[in-house]
């Protein structure tokens, strides 16, 4: 299903070097540039990635820098260019396929699920598909039900795929290269609300592992388990909770498949309470999977019922107030956390 051997994870860069303020968008762009410069086989292709500079402006300027062989505009045909990327990857090059949003990726689902995720299994390990697909996900920019859904949890359902959700500048900068070294297909979900996020990024920021979850805030009273765009809402909620005397631990999953179950169980075993924050719809969500694993493996550690904060089960609305109401928000996370702590 996946390659019997994967390259070892990159060693973390030493902390404390010089850093500069940058954006998540710029971090992704630098990751693409770095990959194209370092590896002759790497190229980017997708709708509007070249002349237009990417619908979220991630690849702006790269066509001028690298030319049309490495930055390839494609027709509006997700199944076609994703399939082309898949074939290219099988043939030995290292394509980065960009799909505008996860909603449109459904047009390429046949290629992703029926081909990329299964080819190693179907060929008895004769073929692999080291394909990297980047796509935007999530809501918050009033892009309505055509562009705003969070379907990464669906992809995390599929054996044969690795699903990444970089939420920090370091992960935006560092996950791509590691993904390109992986012998099997890797999907990278970039939340649309993160692109403009600014922060300090070390000048020597480099590849990061694509295996482990990360504790973004240490706490002892409740584990807030989240990923991607919800990380920052969750950290904001944790600040509010701290002011009310509840020390929340925030776990950034980073990798939705395979889940870092050990990290989840370790945190819950410590705090004995868990709230899962997931922008996907509640029913059949990744939050449901995580909750079930906690119930299976850490039932006797729990001191309160599990809880989750997910999106309302509606197509994401266009109107700002309705869109905000449909999504996980810090206030909802605070409320859920207080409830499981018996402080509602």
């Amino acid at each position: 299903m996946t390659a019997p051997e994967r390259p070892p994870p990159p060693s973390p860069a030493p902390a404390g070097g010089p850093a500069h303020e940058t954006t998540y968008r710029e971090a992704v762009r630098q990751a693409i540039r770095d990959a194209i410069l370092r590896d002759q086989r790497v190229f980017l292709m997708g709708e509007d990635v070249g002349r237009y500079g990417g619908c979220y402006a991630v690849s702006k300027g790269l066509l001028d820098e690298f030319g049309p062989d490495r930055i390839r505009d494609t027709p509006l045909s997700e199944a076609g260019f994703t399939g082309a990327g898949l074939g290219a990857a099988m043939a030995g090059v290292r394509p980065i396929v960009e799909i505008m949003t996860v909603n449109f990726s459904l047009l390429a689902l046949d290629q992703i699920l029926n081909n990329a995720a299964t080819i190693r299994h179907m060929s008895g390990n004769q073929f692999g598909c080291p394909l990297v697909i980047r796509m935007a996900t999530g809501a918050g920019r009033q892009l309505a039900a055509q562009h705003s859904h969070s379907l990464e949890g669906w992809y995390a359902h599929v054996p044969g795929l690795r699903v990444l959700t970089p939420a920090t500048l370091e992960d935006a900068r560092g996950m791509l290269w590691t993904a390109l070294q992986d012998p099997d297909p890797v999907l990278i979900f970039e939340h649309v609300m993160l692109y403009n996020r600014t922060g300090l990024l070390a000048d020597d920021a480099g590849p990061v592992d694509i295996d482990k979850a990360a504790v973004r805030r240490v706490g002892k009273d409740v584990s807030l388990i989240t990923y991607g765009g919800s990380l920052w809402k969750t950290l904001e909620a944790a600040e509010t909770l701290a002011r009310e005397g509840i020390e929340a631990e925030v776990l950034d999953l980073r990798v939705l498949r395979p889940l870092d179950e050990a990290a989840i169980l370790a945190s819950v075993t410590k705090t004995r309470r868990a709230v899962i924050v997931d922008e996907g719809w509640r029913s059949g969500s990744l939050a449901a999977e995580i909750g079930m694993r906690i119930a299976e493996k850490a039932f006797y550690e729990l001191d309160a019922p599990l809880a989750r904060v997910c999106s309302e089960e509606v197509p994401i609305p266009y109107a700002r107030h309705l869109e905000e109401a449909a999504l996980p928000q810090p206030a909802k996370i605070v409320s859920a956390a207080k409830s499981v702590c018996g402080r509602a």
Binding site: R272, Y300, L302, D303, A304, G342, A344
Partner: protein, 390 residues
């Protein structure tokens, strides 16, 4: 399916409180494994199983006080199918009724699931709270829940557990246990008493030579020589080693030497050093050290408390010259060692300053007579003259 029952840990024990399970359903157990801790009048005692198999089901929850003979758990033999029915375990709320059947330890089909308790009113208890309560022997029926809807959460259990004394001695209870056993002894056992002063100088000299070459933790104490000499003598005089029960004396092939150990704060217990006559002096010393440490820590095993066949008591350096013991029923003798003192003593027709100890015997006249008692006591003294042979 074999019933593992609340054992009798002394002639006067009627009931015990299950403090803690140390094994869980599915665990393989063999004879001698420690599977539970029971609180009795004598303190917290680790309970061993006498059968080999797989622990099938626990029938009693920690905190419950149940009479001797009540099944605590079921053990299934290798290859036997797990039980299907799961009767509610005895909760920690009250003393359960005595079982209809007697405590006969016969293997039986899955026992009639106890006429035990009505179900507790439903209280929300978090899994963590339930687990920790079980670990610490906290009776959940006495815990007030402060969680949502009155749910009992971990913090509630910790609050309830913290002021509680650790599993260990209840001095009032222990006093009551000693009172019951000693009153029974004096009521039922016709004691006779013998006393003999013995030259301890050879043993003291040998001990000094032996210990001079050893680091402190490996040094022998005179108490180990006393115990070994007594155990060896008991092998030669079997009417002082065993139990008197149901009108007859049953000598014991094994010599499990009860060692009277005073407990800080008052009271004493006399748990057994098993097969004391077969242990080397070093092993016997180690066993006594281990036992004393565990007794003072409040932890000893059911077999140690239940099965001494003969007891020794030594008051040590801070005692007096002679002590006359009261026999611990159903045993039939107790050997006492007084404080060793330096006295003028005739040796080979010459007066010398020698270390002397007074050894006493209190024995059950139903079983033995003074003549045999004197020979037994003299045999102990003679063995102390040849410490290297112990």
């Amino acid at each position: 399916m074999i019933s593992f029952r609340m054992p009798s840990l002394g002639a006067d024990m009627e009931a015990g409180t299950l403090v803690e399970w140390l094994a869980k359903p599915g665990d393989k157990v063999k004879r001698g494994d420690i599977v539970a801790v029971v609180e009795t009048q004598k303190g917290a005692i680790e309970i061993e199983v006498f059968d080999t198999g797989v622990l099938d089901r626990l029938l009693v929850e920690p905190g419950a006080k149940v009479p001797v003979g009540v099944p605590l758990a079921l053990i299934r033999a290798e290859g036997e199918a797990p039980s299907l029915a799961a009767p509610a375990p005895i909760g920690g709320t009250a003393v359960a009724a005595a079982p209809a059947q007697g405590p006969a330890p016969t293997p039986i089909k899955p026992p009639a699931p106890a006429p035990f308790l009505p179900a507790e009113p439903h209280v929300r208890i978090s899994p963590a709270a339930r687990r920790v309560a079980a670990e610490r022997g906290v009776d959940l029926a006495r815990v007030t829940g402060t969680g949502p809807g009155g749910a009992i959460q971990l913090a509630d259990v910790e609050t309830a557990a913290s002021p509680a004394r650790p599993a260990g001695f209840d001095f009032t209870q222990m006093r009551a246990a000693i009172a019951a056993a000693m009153a029974r002894s004096k009521r039922e056992i016709p004691h006779y008493y013998l006393s003999d002063a013995v030259d301890l100088q050879p043993a003291a000299d040998w001990l000094a030579r032996t210990n001079a070459e050893r680091p402190p933790e490996r040094r022998l104490l005179m108490g180990a020589l006393f115990a070994k000499a007594t155990a060896l003598a008991a092998r030669a005089y079997p009417e002082f080693n065993g139990h008197f029960a149901e009108g007859a004396f049953r000598p014991s092939a094994a010599i499990h030497l009860g060692v009277a150990i005073a407990i800080r704060g008052g009271g004493l217990v006399a748990p057994a050093v098993h097969d004391a006559a077969d242990l080397s002096l070093d092993d016997l010393m180690a066993a006594m050290r281990d036992l004393i440490g565990r007794v003072r820590g409040g932890r000893f095993r059911s077999s140690e408390i239940a099965d001494p066949t003969l007891t020794v008591s030594s008051l040590g350096d801070r005692g007096v010259e002679a002590l006359f013991g009261v026999i611990y029923p159903p045993q039939v003798a107790i050997v006492g060692f007084g404080k060793a003192v330096v006295r003028p003593w005739a040796v080979d027709g010459t007066l010398a300053a020698r270390m002397i100890v007074t050894i006493t015997l209190a024995a059950d006249h139903r079983v033995s007579d003074g003549h045999r008692g004197a020979l037994f006591l003299a045999d102990i003294g003679r063995r102390l003259q040849q410490p290297e042979a112990l």
